[in-house]
């Protein structure tokens, strides 16, 4: 392998620095603004030297029960992720292994679940959940998000299952393992990176989603994204609180992705080289 020239190294470093700046500057602005006093929030040129204030964070948690909203978000995101991984993975395994002339149609039908514009199904969902008595509960959002996440998981995991040689499962069968045992002890560990990728996508979608959460929740199951935006009113946008809330919202996503990072990198590159 050729050693890169100094100029190439420098170019790479500069490009990485630019990329980092593009992605990190907005987070930096959010972090700085979350401790900036309101009267100088939009001062031009922006002031970076100021006495930081914790008021926005204090107001965020005292003006409204923000801790409860974060808990709701966690509950909904984790619930939907677990639900989607369970059923999406099983569906993907079935689609990958079953040989039937209509199986591709079934797979496409599952994918088509993602093609609905959310606004088209909000009213039916609202009426259904209202009738079932689960409106404004985390369960309603877990169900809705799972209808979006299960197709994603199914299609992602199908690719990973396709990569696992059928001979391995046949060998397990010869050794006396049943279908379930083969699936759980042989196949599933081999697609762990795929599970990590799916989990990250499901979690991030459920954590960030706004429209369904706005329409299908009240104060009981309101999620953090809706709660943060609720500081946008008709006569004022409480930017300080929005920034403080946004900064807090970023944290669980980052922690979750970092936790899955080891499998994530492997999962994202798996199958790219045969």
């Amino acid at each position: 392998m050729l050693k890169p020239a100094t100029s190439e190294k420098l170019l790479c470093t500069v490009l990485i620095a630019i990329a980092l700046a593009v992605f990190l500057v907005p987070i930096f602005i959010v972090a700085v603004s979350s401790v900036k006093p309101t009267p100088i929030m939009f001062q031009k040129p922006p002031s970076f030297v100021f006495e930081p204030t914790a008021d926005h964070y204090i107001n965020l948690f005292t003006a409204r029960p923000f801790a409860k909203f974060i808990w709701n978000s966690l509950l909904v995101a984790c619930g939907s992720t677990a639900f989607s991984l369970t059923f999406g993975t099983l569906a993907a395994y079935a689609i990958s292994r079953i040989r039937h002339r209509r199986i591709k149609d079934l797979a496409f039908w599952i994918l088509s679940m993602r093609m609905f514009p959310p606004i088209a199904v909000i009213v039916p969902y609202y009426i259904l959940f209202k009738t079932a008595g689960i409106l404004d509960t985390p369960l309603a959002l877990i169900i809705v998000y799972s209808t979006v996440n299960i197709p994603l998981t199914t299609w992602l995991m199908k690719g990973f299952f396709d990569e696992v040689p059928a001979a391995l499962e046949e060998a397990a069968a010869v050794d006396g393992h049943g279908l379930l045992a083969t699936f759980f002890w042989i196949t599933l560990p081999l697609v762990a990176p795929g599970l990590a990728v799916s989990a990250v996508f499901c979690f991030i979608f459920s954590w960030n989603e706004f429209i369904f959460a706005l329409m299908l929740t009240g104060s009981e199951a309101q999620t953090a994204t809706v709660a943060v935006m609720s500081f946008w009113s008709s006569d004022a946008v409480q930017w300080g609180r929005i920034m403080a809330g946004s900064f807090i919202i970023v944290i669980p996503g980052v922690v979750f992705v970092l936790t899955c990072q080891r499998w994530l990198v492997r999962g994202l590159t798996m199958g790219s080289v045969r």
């Binding site: 009267p39 100088i40 209202k130 609720s230 004022a236």
Partner: protein, 469 residues
């Protein structure tokens, strides 16, 4: 009708009295939820709802949601037969959509029945009219808005500035009464760092004016429409019910806004509601026109640095030259879900009466909580006027204000004109007539699928029937 109302009131009183005699409160056991917002009209009231429960027995919970998307949530909520929310927070331009969808209970009869109790005669009529649809009252004002101008009074009264202005423009430096004066003042006060302003050398640029040019949430249209109306412009053609916002008054309004661009901050295209008002709140602009709901911050040093830098003056919005037109109003209001049960409706009405009462508004004012007022007696109160110097302006301007847009296609107008005007102000289009015509055509394409009779009904604004009693 009069006797029926008296009988109804007597029946209500006797029911209340019998409840009281049993030691039971009138609305004991009723739970109300409000589909609300983090607006001052709600946040000032939210901590006090226990007092209402103490008085009436009804428990009230206020849920707060973001302004964007709230109207959709209200419409969806009204589609359920058994509502989760009995009380709705309403922005007055929404009455067209909500009225047409039947989402809100008609409050006309209730307001007439309780006219004395709610001091109906003390409420500035345009604030009630603002909440009507086809003459029927669909919501009740909780905060009255008026479009007016704020200016740096300390700069306007500085002798050096007064002399320099008179020498340059040939007339006295006073709050602008027309848009040409407003532009002159914006130009005059635009200074760069190092220049002198009111005897002080500026450390950074000072902007003559700060208006909203952002397309976000239609912010630019909030500034455009009052100027258009001040030149005598109308939203709709009275013969066809189609868009009329591409005519001479609109062109003049576009011209005013375009000429003001050079006196605005460099980020003018991103200036939306409170980013724009922030310039006045920090004392970084000389003149700015906007809704009075933000003006209430200007006397509070905790919310506005300008209170510690200089002094803000308040005046009516400028008009077109020689054709004085009244300015534009708005209202932030409470309504009742039409699907609520009769008991819930009665309790919800009691809550609205309590939360928007003259006593409650006075309490807010005395406690220093800024709410844009709509009772004459409060705005005329000498003690409160001294404390809130903008009260007289709110009173004068509201008495002669025009109603804001209330068409069911209001959101479309904000979106289409917001983008079109923003593009023109950014220099992406050259011909203002073409820009306005194209925007109107887009609106008309959506409107023409409806019969002309319906379109004309949508723009009709008969006087509220509560005034006829």
């Amino acid at each position: 009708m009069k006797y029926a109302n008296i009988a109804l009131a007597a029946a209500a009183l006797s029911v209340a009295a019998s409840g009281a005699a049993l030691g039971q409160k009138q609305f004991e056991g009723i739970e109300l939820k409000m589909l609300g917002i983090g607006d001052t009209s709600v946040t000032r009231l939210a901590p006090l709802v226990d007092e209402f429960e103490e008085l009436t027995g009804a428990k009230v919970q206020i849920d707060q949601f973001p302004y964007p998307g709230l109207i959709d949530k209200i419409v969806i909520e009204a589609s359920a037969d058994t509502p989760s929310y009995q009380l709705m927070w309403v922005d007055s331009p929404w009455v067209g959509v909500l009225g047409e969808s039947g989402a809100l209970e008609d409050l006309t009869d209730l307001a007439i029945r309780d006219a004395e109790e709610i001091n109906l005669d003390d409420i500035i009529p345009i604030q009630l009219q603002e909440n009507t649809w086809q003459g029927r009252l669909l919501a009740f004002p909780a905060s009255g808005m008026i479009w007016h101008q704020n200016y740096r009074k300390d700069l306007f009264e500085h002798p050096d500035e007064q002399a320099a202005f008179k020498a340059k423009y040939g007339y006295d430096l006073e709050p602008a009464t027309n848009w040409e004066q407003y532009i002159d003042q914006a130009e005059f006060f635009t200074r760069t760092a190092g220049e002198v302003l009111a005897g002080n050398v500026l450390e950074k640029d000072f902007h003559g004016n700060a208006q909203a040019y952002s397309r976000v949430a239609g912010a630019i249209t909030h500034d455009f429409f009052p100027i258009m109306r001040s030149y005598g412009g109308q939203y709709w053609d009275s013969e066809t019910g189609l868009c009329a916002m591409d005519r001479e008054p609109s062109l003049r309004a576009v011209d005013v806004m375009k000429r003001l661009v050079q006196f605005n901050p460099p980020d003018y295209l991103g200036l939306m509601w409170d980013i724009r008002t922030g310039y006045m709140e920090r004392g970084e602009t000389a003149v700015s026109s906007y809704w009075s709901v933000r003006t209430v911050r200007l006397t509070n040093p905790e919310e506005a640095l300008v209170a510690g830098i200089g002094e803000v003056g308040y005046a009516a919005s400028p008009t077109g030259e020689d054709i004085p037109q009244p300015t534009m109003t708005g209202a932030l209001s409470f309504g009742i879900n039409s699907k609520a049960t009769d008991d819930e409706k009665e309790a919800a009405w009691a809550f609205i009466k309590w939360g928007t009462s003259r006593e409650m508004m006075r309490r807010f004012a005395e406690e220093g909580n800024g709410v844009s007022m709509f009772h004459r007696s409060i705005l005329m109160d000498p003690d409160l006027q001294e404390r809130y110097p903008y009260y007289q302006v709110l009173l004068d301007t509201q008495e002669h204000a025009q109603r804001r847009i209330f068409h069911p296609f209001y959101a479309d107008v904000e979106e289409v004109f917001g983008v079109a005007l923003n593009k023109y102000m950014a220099g992406e289009a050259d011909d203002p007539q073409a820009v306005l015509t194209e925007a109107c055509n887009k609106i008309n394409t959506r409107l023409k699928v409806f019969p002309v009779e319906l379109r004309l009904r949508w723009i009709a604004d008969p006087p509220a029937e509560i005034f006829s009693n």
